[in-house]
Symmetry: D2
Subunit: 303 residues, 4 copies
Amino acid sequence: MRTFDESASGLYIISVTPFLDDGTLDLPGVDRLVDFYLSQNVSGIVVLSMMGEAQKLTPDETTQFVQRVCARVNGAVPVIVGLPGGGLVALKAVADIAVAAGASGVMVAPAPSLRSDRQIVEYFGSVADVLGDVPFVLQDFPLATGVQIPAEVMSRIIRSQPTLKAIKHEDWPGLNKITTLRDDDARQVSILVGNGSLYLPEELDRGANGAMTGFAFPDMIVEVCRLHAAGQREAAYDLFDVYLPLIRYEQQPGVGLSVRKYLMHKAGILASHRLRAPGRSLNAQEVAEVDWLVARQSRRIKR
Amino acid sequence: MRTFDESASGLYIISVTPFLDDGTLDLPGVDRLVDFYLSQNVSGIVVLSMMGEAQKLTPDETTQFVQRVCARVNGAVPVIVGLPGGGLVALKAVADIAVAAGASGVMVAPAPSLRSDRQIVEYFGSVADVLGDVPFVLQDFPLATGVQIPAEVMSRIIRSQPTLKAIKHEDWPGLNKITTLRDDDARQVSILVGNGSLYLPEELDRGANGAMTGFAFPDMIVEVCRLHAAGQREAAYDLFDVYLPLIRYEQQPGVGLSVRKYLMHKAGILASHRLRAPGRSLNAQEVAEVDWLVARQSRRIKR
Amino acid sequence: MRTFDESASGLYIISVTPFLDDGTLDLPGVDRLVDFYLSQNVSGIVVLSMMGEAQKLTPDETTQFVQRVCARVNGAVPVIVGLPGGGLVALKAVADIAVAAGASGVMVAPAPSLRSDRQIVEYFGSVADVLGDVPFVLQDFPLATGVQIPAEVMSRIIRSQPTLKAIKHEDWPGLNKITTLRDDDARQVSILVGNGSLYLPEELDRGANGAMTGFAFPDMIVEVCRLHAAGQREAAYDLFDVYLPLIRYEQQPGVGLSVRKYLMHKAGILASHRLRAPGRSLNAQEVAEVDWLVARQSRRIKR
Amino acid sequence: MRTFDESASGLYIISVTPFLDDGTLDLPGVDRLVDFYLSQNVSGIVVLSMMGEAQKLTPDETTQFVQRVCARVNGAVPVIVGLPGGGLVALKAVADIAVAAGASGVMVAPAPSLRSDRQIVEYFGSVADVLGDVPFVLQDFPLATGVQIPAEVMSRIIRSQPTLKAIKHEDWPGLNKITTLRDDDARQVSILVGNGSLYLPEELDRGANGAMTGFAFPDMIVEVCRLHAAGQREAAYDLFDVYLPLIRYEQQPGVGLSVRKYLMHKAGILASHRLRAPGRSLNAQEVAEVDWLVARQSRRIKR
């Protein structure tokens, strides 16, 4: 098991969950998927996220999938497991599975029922208590959870919970929040940005450590993070801009995962582009649009 | 196993899930709980609903709880099991557990991602396909799901899905929707009202068949339904009005379940009033308010 | 002009805006309406609230209506004028009209775009600056505005803005918020409760000073407040309970104002029950339901 | 007055509302602003939109601003005036001002209270009745209004309302909706896309006629539309991609208008970059980010 801590940087890839065309979980396909991610030099792998169709798995599938991923990763990079949001006992049950399988940490989003700043702070206190010494990522995604966490509240959580190691930052707009957190004299944790990496270069400028997202071309994000860390800011922006038309296309709500699975299937990484219902695959026009954007992207890369 | 079909009427009680003070599932307490509900002449028992803290159970607890309830009910009345909302495979897994345990039907709410009328109709078509011949209840609760189902869309679902047997009606406002459904020449299903029974008498006037709710005094709801069905409308309203101050108190968001557990614990039905986090128990002032309302209610009943 | 300050208590009636059957503003009818409210011993009159169809008036009608109300009230009680939410300049323009007409104060809700606690505090600072020495009411109605104001944030606003004289309290659930505000050592302002007075007795128990709502039988609310202030708590609850079935009926979203206008038209107070589009009048079944509830209410009052 | 009808294409620029540094409406500045837009070869000018800070103007300012814009445009292109959403009478009052000033059409969004498909259809029927023969644009922006209009409902409105001439399309995701509308045998109206033009090239591919947005470099959008209409699809995408990093930056909620005003002030088009409260100007880091993106954009244009 690899350590996951405040120094996390680079790309923590949000893994898809692979299904076969008949909708069954493609456990053998997990190995190929993990190998692909590792070949792209990701810093970590995140499973059972919202985008990972976690809530569509049965309990048995959840266990099998986590175990298979951890076994194949075999300590090469940290594995982070997303936890369900319903209650602390159910959350702990999945955390136990994750730890037993060899995961390095877990990810927790605020419960949608939280309303006041104090409730938010208390909730993550309870979460940390239940998790014990398991490192955790706080997913800050108000558009999905309905819970706004102001920067000052985030600082209070960071100060009081030493097992909080990273924030998956996808507040929107969120640039000033990164700056506020970085300027704070609170203990600093890793800030890994989500939102499909749509604002990755600016977020790195503001002090983010890397990304936690699921783009179909992970090597680009890895390289943007590397260039930026190496002080080659202009080159980072140049590379990012080449992929921006596709990143933007993925931002359409409910479309991103279908695009990723389509492209990964086309590239031979996934056996099927299928999502479990109520997700859907791309239709013919969308396939043509994605193909067009990728063809343009490939030509620009060559130049 | 008792049949559950379009003739369902009276009270289908939304069961609480009993925990001990230390937060563990109180499996032995399930028997006392079931016996209490049956003693109140409920027409059915609904477990794993939103209010039932279903999402706070681990997979193992879910199975144990469903089995224990079904075993104790032992065919006396239909048991209905609420299904998780994430995806069809996960939903089917719980439905299989329910059927194996002897439940008579299941309950399904629309997935929060549904947006258009057509998507809603298609979703319940997929649900019905996956469930096969298992009778199901459609929970129509826009305030919680974010999905509006217009009456005409509901009629299309009713027409096309013969295994849909009942609607848990908690649209708000919803009186005219009941009338529209009753006036429709579509196949008629049972309409069982929720919303804590706040509009029960008017809803019965409009054509509802009964209630599906979790009030701490189930015998009142059973009796209001009986009086109304017997043509004693004024008596039904009179009885309802006595309990209305408490029903109203329960309507405060996030408070209702705590009130019910408090009262059922006080009455010796539950070993503990505890909710699993992030739920909370009543504070001292709320306890005093509930006690005050129940004392007033008791005095009015005596008169 | 009557003073409006922190001692406000009793009922500040949320006034309807009267239209004729053809939808024109019924300016002469304003006098009859004001006379009715004054005859019920209200402590104040609030115009241009959300419920008052303020946003359906043209700018000229807005001015004429405010002037007519103030002229007829003629200093008998304070008049409070609801301000539009778009921006400070537009808000100030209506405040100027109100003050020129003789109103005693204004009411302001948080702009829907506010997200963090700090933004909320700053917003009401800007509002107070713009209003100068005009006393104002803060409308705390998260269900309508989407803005949650935690009790601690409310205390900060109360401390820093001496021209804030009262809160229209309609957070939901909100009982504990009243207690927290009353226990705070901050400057105390008047708390007048909304939400159609559904929790009026408990809210008075918690320390509210009165109500700011628009029920069709204002004298009941005035009397409940009086009884409670006189220490006759049981009598206050008894009186409230008689009207509770109708209060509850009014709580159906989008129905309350139609019920009030129907009843006030039937009682000869309004020339028409009409709402301006997109509002609607009661249909035949709803009229029958309201008549039934009022008939039952009248019989209980007689007993 | 220029005719506005179903043939509308190219760019209908969403005009900013110019203020001076002290927050007063900059009426003389309107002339310079209009001249700038006309110099960019826009097809039309839209004032008093959501982005145009319409709700922050007093009634007098609203009238003065509309009159000044129309006078300066002087028939060169159609002027479209956004109408307030509160009610039909208030909406009509602004429409009258618009028509009297010489505007060619108006824009209407669905009232936020609309819930069912039928209510939506009826609402736009009432709107069309009130407007008489004034051509109108339907703004389809669910993220802002909370009202989802499925494609089939849009078709019903298009069929039944001949004075509906164009849709401001900013549903998200929305590509398939355009295709469905174009494949429908209903009367075809103009589809002008919003969402800051983030999906402009794909939307033109799907059959949109042009854009209705407020980007600070209108000539780019005009040229993308021209190239696409001329069959030069690749060139249209190439040009669009150059500006995409800035378009993306503008998409951050609550930031877009500040970016536009900053850039237009820097270019000498506006006397001030100021927004009226509760809007805000860019902070120093945001200014640096925008400058950086524009500098990169300028270099790419030269290449």
